[in-house]
């Protein structure tokens, strides 16, 4: 019995260690994210497309591996180890915990992080202008001042802005801090509503009814994953709902200035290309998002009792019908 069991284990171990050798490729880029969600997946696709545009195509001369930790931090740490053992040319961690797990585990493989709001606070880099070492990347910090200005332009009467967010999400806490610092200058007040998991988002949004004139949804993974709950509260109570990311506009928020994570991925891909062509990551400054664009949804606005000014619609890159 015992021998059978041990033999079984030995077979499993041998099988596990053998693994499939990958076909030789000119470049090897390994991408990992803490969890699947539309924005993070779009960033991954953007990276892949930019690499293709730069002459590295999957299946031809590029090996492009992707792993998701499916929300489990232990798995994120294991993915970091797996990639480091495979010695790719560049590791691209998407999101803060994934980036920290990778950066803590290697000091020689090039790392280009993305979708990290506060890379300095997360200790990924010391000086964003001159990162040094093997790490660079880009921050996805929202252009908060522009967002608040947009809210004032479309709904000038809105003075109290409700912000549902997850206090457990590092990125969201940073954003709320910036919002609170920025709001007084624009004559606005911020009212917070905490939701620690997607199931709490509806209650958080409802708690804002009567206390605010508009709702602003920051780029918070928990809230965005349950965005429909916030939109429902907005429609039922004629409260305009804005968002920090343009992917949310077709889902039913009035308007957003931002970037979509596909463009973030494309921009990250450009950094990856520079590293693949021989530049040292430590010499590449950490970038912010370059392309911002305005998306509006007049239909959603009408349901929330708002008319978007024609000037704003004229300026929009995308008008959702």
């Amino acid at each position: 019995m015992k021998f059978l069991r041990l033999g079984l284990l030995a077979c499993a171990a041998a099988l596990a260690l053998a693994g499939g050798p990958a076909a030789a490729a000119d470049a090897f880029v390994a991408v990992t994210a803490i969890v699947e969600h539309p924005a993070l997946d779009a960033a991954r696709d953007g990276i892949r497309d930019e690499l293709a545009a730069g002459g590295y195509e999957v299946g031809k001369n590029l090996r492009f591996d992707y792993e998701s930790a499916q929300g489990n931090p232990g798995t994120a740490a294991q993915i970091a180890r797996k990639f480091i053992g495979e010695k790719p040319d560049v590791i691209v961690p998407i999101s803060t915990p994934s980036a920290q797990a990778v950066v803590a585990a290697t000091s020689d493989i090039a790392v280009v992080f993305t979708a990290v709001t506060d890379p300095v606070g997360a200790k990924l880099v010391g000086d964003p202008m001159k990162p040094g070492g093997n790490v660079t990347g880009m921050s996805d910090l929202s252009p908060i001042a522009k967002h608040l200005a947009l809210i004032r332009e479309i709904t000038p009467d809105a003075k109290r802005i409700g912000v549902p967010y997850n206090p457990g999400e590092a990125n969201a806490v940073t954003l709320v801090g910036i919002l609170k610092a920025e709001a007084p200058a624009q004559g606005l007040t911020i009212v917070e509503a905490a939701a620690t998991k997607s199931a709490d988002v509806l209650a958080a949004a409802q708690s804002l009814v009567g206390k605010v004139d508009a709702i602003y949804v920051p780029t918070d993974n928990t809230i965005v994953s349950a965005l429909e709950a916030v939109i429902k509260v907005g429609i039922d109570n004629r409260l305009p709902v804005y968002a920090g990311d343009t992917d949310s506009v077709p889902r039913g928020v009035i308007a957003a200035i931002g970037f979509n994570y596909y463009d973030v991925g494309r921009q990250t891909g450009k950094i990856v290309l520079r590293v693949l062509k021989g530049e040292k990551p430590g010499d590449i400054p950490v970038e912010g998002v370059e392309i911002t664009e305005l998306h509006v949804n007049p239909g959603a606005a009408a349901k929330m009792g708002v008319t978007i000014p024609a000037a704003v619609i004229a300026r929009a890159k995308t008008v959702v019908q």
């Binding site: 019995m1 059978l4 069991r5 079984l8 284990l9 499993a12 171990a13 099988l15 596990a16 260690l17 693994g19 499939g20 699947e36 992707y66 792993e67 998701s68 499916q70 929300g71 489990n72 931090p73 232990g74 798995t75 740490a77 294991q78 993915i79 970091a80 180890r81 797996k82 480091i84 053992g85 495979e86 803060t96 915990p97 920290q100 797990a101 950066v103 803590a104 585990a105 606070g121 997360a122 200790k123 990924l124 206090p167 457990g168 999400e169 590092a170 806490v173 620690t196």
Partner: protein
């Protein structure tokens, strides 16, 4: 699976082996289904990381993390014993409260300790590559915890604790202070889990309020996989099975990460892991009919 991934799985498996031991103590020895661990794991990470950032010695920081974990266990036990709240519910209450407490401890959701000294720093002088040093260090910690726990459970007090879990009325009749035994057991259990959290944070460079997600699942998987494959004949063997079970679970995850045939993609990771663990659980039992047949033949 490459060698770094393999050793990484061993290392993380050994760290979560401490969670396995903690869950073994509450779930199996005390018969107390305890979900506090989903909060005490990040609590250990949060306390250790926050103290390390403030230049506290990492060993002292880890010790304080253990104390914080034992306190969490005591709160759950207190809610259960003093106020007769159902054990499962008492532990859920402590767990959700710890989410907020962990945010308070850290002051923000994520504390990075990537460049700070950790318990591994003094060992760097041993000349062993980091790749082997980390799993070796984790193995030493897991082995010491395992031996101490097994020794403790074999002592008179440990026997009383096991009696408390097996049959509390009988234990009380024999003069065992079952309440006290539960307090002590829950404290040790969550102290072990907090130690795992503190080590995980230091080995991976960060504490995050979300790192507790699914700790109980991993702990239970370790206990049950270990039992299924190695049996439960002695206390030492039973406890060791938890640590080995945890390592096997991590190897299953590492193996699932490397699976790219049959059209399986990254999103199938949890499914593949679950199937591997299920197979590990089913296989030993599946041989039983054969064994029954053989022993039946032998009797004839």
């Amino acid at each position: 699976m490459n060698i770094v991934a393999f050793l990484g799985a061993i290392e993380i498996g050994l760290v979560f082996g401490l969670v396995g031991l903690g869950v073994f103590l509450s779930f199996r020895v005390l018969n107390f289904p305890d979900l506090t661990v989903d909060g005490s794991f990040p609590l250990g990470a949060a306390v250790a990381a926050t103290l390390i950032v403030q230049d506290v010695d990492p060993f002292l920081a880890s010790a304080v993390a253990v104390v914080a974990g034992t306190a969490a266990g005591l709160v759950t036990a207190f809610l259960n014993l003093r106020f007769k709240i159902l054990h499962l519910l008492a532990s859920i209450l402590t767990m959700i409260a710890l989410y907020s407490i962990n945010l308070r401890v850290m002051g923000r959701p994520n504390v990075a300790i990537i460049n700070e000294p950790t318990v591994l720093t003094p060992l760097a002088g041993l000349g062993l590559a980091d790749l082997y040093l980390r799993p070796a260090a984790a193995a030493v910690v897991a082995a010491v915890a395992l031996l101490l726990l097994a020794r403790f459970l074999a002592s008179d007090y440990g026997l009383a604790m096991r009696a408390t879990g097996a049959n509390p009325r009988m234990a009380r009749a024999q003069g065992v202070f079952t309440g006290q035994a539960t307090y002590v057991g829950m404290a040790i259990s969550n102290g072990l889990v907090a130690l795992a959290g503190a080590l995980f944070a230091q080995m991976n460079g960060f504490a995050d309020v979300t790192i507790g997600t699914g700790t109980i699942v991993v702990g239970l998987a370790a206990v049950i996989v270990g039992e299924a494959i190695f049996g439960t004949r002695t206390v030492l063997g039973h406890a060791a099975a938890c640590v080995v079970g945890s390592v096997l679970y991590r190897l299953a995850v590492a193996f699932a990460l490397g699976v790219d045939f049959l059209g399986l993609t990254a999103s199938d990771l949890n499914l593949v892991t679950a199937v591997l663990v299920a197979v590990a659980l089913i296989l030993p039992g599946a041989r039983n009919p054969l064994r029954a047949l053989l022993s039946g033949l032998a009797k004839r």
